[in-house]
Subunit: 329 residues, 2 copies
């Protein structure tokens, strides 16, 4: 059975059945012309939209449907985390090819709903349309943040210390393994690509503790994230080549293939870690993040007065940071 | 020059250049991981998402690019109007085929920005991705509404009077003319299809004056709208066949072709008028809407205790309301 055998209304109904009870602040939920929400007092609202398209951001041939749903929401939760916001609700817009199996549609929704439940994110609205093209899921996600906790890209100053959460390179290596048909090479990397974690708790604590002068998420890789902060803040960044927390099984995979490990780890996208800068005198503010953020924090470099992005080796040799990952061309 | 020759960043920059100055409540705008907004005090937030896909909701062969942008936003403004909400901001997510001309991309954005400016709607965020499939624009739009002014679909009771704004059938006739290659047959109908007006002002006044017991927008036609209110409110509806405000040039067009005028006008989508029900004792609340809503209000029927949807002729003959327009199958 394919989705083309159901009406739009019946598909929306299948989604609705999977949602948990609406929260009290949801005045009007799915099923009317728009959702109506009561904003939280004394909080700002953070809101973002991101789309994933079959053949561009994932590939149905090797991405299980629940992982498609998971990824569609995770990329947005990661954006909210990078603003220091606590996620609250999402709107899900799906364009479905007529040959999509109904079971796959349901599994996509299950993946999405499972992730949203684990973060207490309510689906307040959405849209389903058919498309003569590829499967596409567009998620709008909103969260709340105190004014003093908002994290932007633009506050870094020369001398600020650069940190990254978790490990990098795992998702890029996992994608290579999926494409090469060897997902068993390092299941942790593959899982990292298929069902990324958004660093929601860490982002919240970074914002609350006013620890960071800037923050960005690594959707397009570390090299891209570094360039974004440098551009928005008007600083340069020197990264310590040996300090980078490269996912161990990704390192092993690239070494076994004779690939340039650091370049791959830095350029690869889809890590969804947070990159942040911290004033030296505020480093102690990171303690609570390290202790309760649910993810490691690694010091990987420093901001500089120039505008150059540099990778420094222990022997003092310097190389430019390779260009980041770009989805469009 | 096609969009594939620019980076995602360059395309986003083209959009940004076209936007007017950000409003004071926009704490962080386009260019960070998410937008940050200060919610309006003592107001609820209405939010909706809707997508338009080439080959499904429009056809690039006969829809000028500025009209594509206009329609993408108008469908959402119409949803907000049907909730009684005043539109405030939008997020624009676009999936672009590689062969889209850059000039067409710019014209799409211009159409979108022109309509948003005329309603003081700020674009606070968005996303651009390439797609191997058709052009798709997904707009999330949000507005504000007082709790006592929220309009839903579910408050109609037997005896309530049914009204519709403006005229119906024009967009459906216009689409037929475009498809048939005779847009000169009735330019008003064609314009109605290409660049629909959302009844924002009327929706606001209907909400503020607490005139309506239910309201819905006619994105999928009058027959569909009547069914939505009847279903959500648990009523039947009798429509007065001769009272329907059918667009005169659409009537002429269908008559000249020997088509069933009323059936066409009722079943055709894309009108984006508002359908509402009003308690008989509150009819005077509609005066302000008629006077200042910028659009005519026509009494077209009444809600009944049953659940049937009926079209009544002056001679008393009754026929079931034909099924509405459905986008999916």
């Amino acid at each position: 059975v394919t989705v083309s055998e159901l009406s739009e209304r019946a598909l929306v109904h299948l989604v609705q059945q999977r949602l948990s009870a609406p929260p009290r602040w949801m005045v009007v939920g799915i099923g009317d012309d728009a959702a109506v929400i009561e904003p939280e007092r004394n909080r700002l609202q953070a809101i973002t939209v991101d789309a994933i398209v079959d053949g561009v951001h994932f590939d149905r041939r090797f991405t299980p449907p629940d992982a498609i749903g998971h990824r569609a929401l995770a990329v947005n939760l990661s954006d909210l985390a990078a603003m220091g916001a606590e996620p609250r609700y999402a709107l899900i817009s799906m364009a479905l090819p007529a040959d999509l199996l109904l079971a796959d549609f349901e599994a996509i929704v299950d993946g999405l709903v499972r992730l949203s439940s684990s973060y207490h994110v309510s689906t307040v609205g959405g849209n389903v349309t058919r498309t003569p093209g590829p499967l596409m899921i567009d998620v709008t996600a909103a969260g709340v943040v105190k004014r003093r906790s908002v994290l932007t890209r633009s506050g870094a100053r020369p001398g600020d210390v650069v940190f990254v959460t978790g490990t990098i390179g795992g998702a890029a290596a996992g994608l290579e393994m999926l494409r090469g048909g060897v997902p068993e090479a390092a299941p942790a990397c593959v899982e990292r690509y298929l069902r990324p974690s958004a660093r929601v708790r860490a982002g919240l604590l970074i914002g609350r503790n006013r620890a960071a002068s800037s923050c960005v998420d690594l959707s397009d890789g570390l090299a891209d994230g570094v360039a974004r902060i440098a551009e928005a803040s008007g600083v340069g960044i020197v990264l310590d080549r040996t300090a980078l927390p490269i996912e161990p099984s990704a390192r092993t995979w690239w070494e076994s293939r004779g690939d340039a490990v650091v370049d791959r780890a830095i350029s690869g996208g889809d890590d969804y870690e947070l990159l942040l800068t911290v004033r030296p005198r505020l480093l102690r503010h990171l303690e609570a993040v390290s202790r309760h953020g649910g993810v490691a924090l690694t010091r990987i470099g420093v901001c500089t007065p120039g505008r150059s992005l540099v990778l420094r080796s222990p022997d003092g040799a310097e190389a430019p940071v390779p260009a980041g990952f770009t989805h469009f061309r």
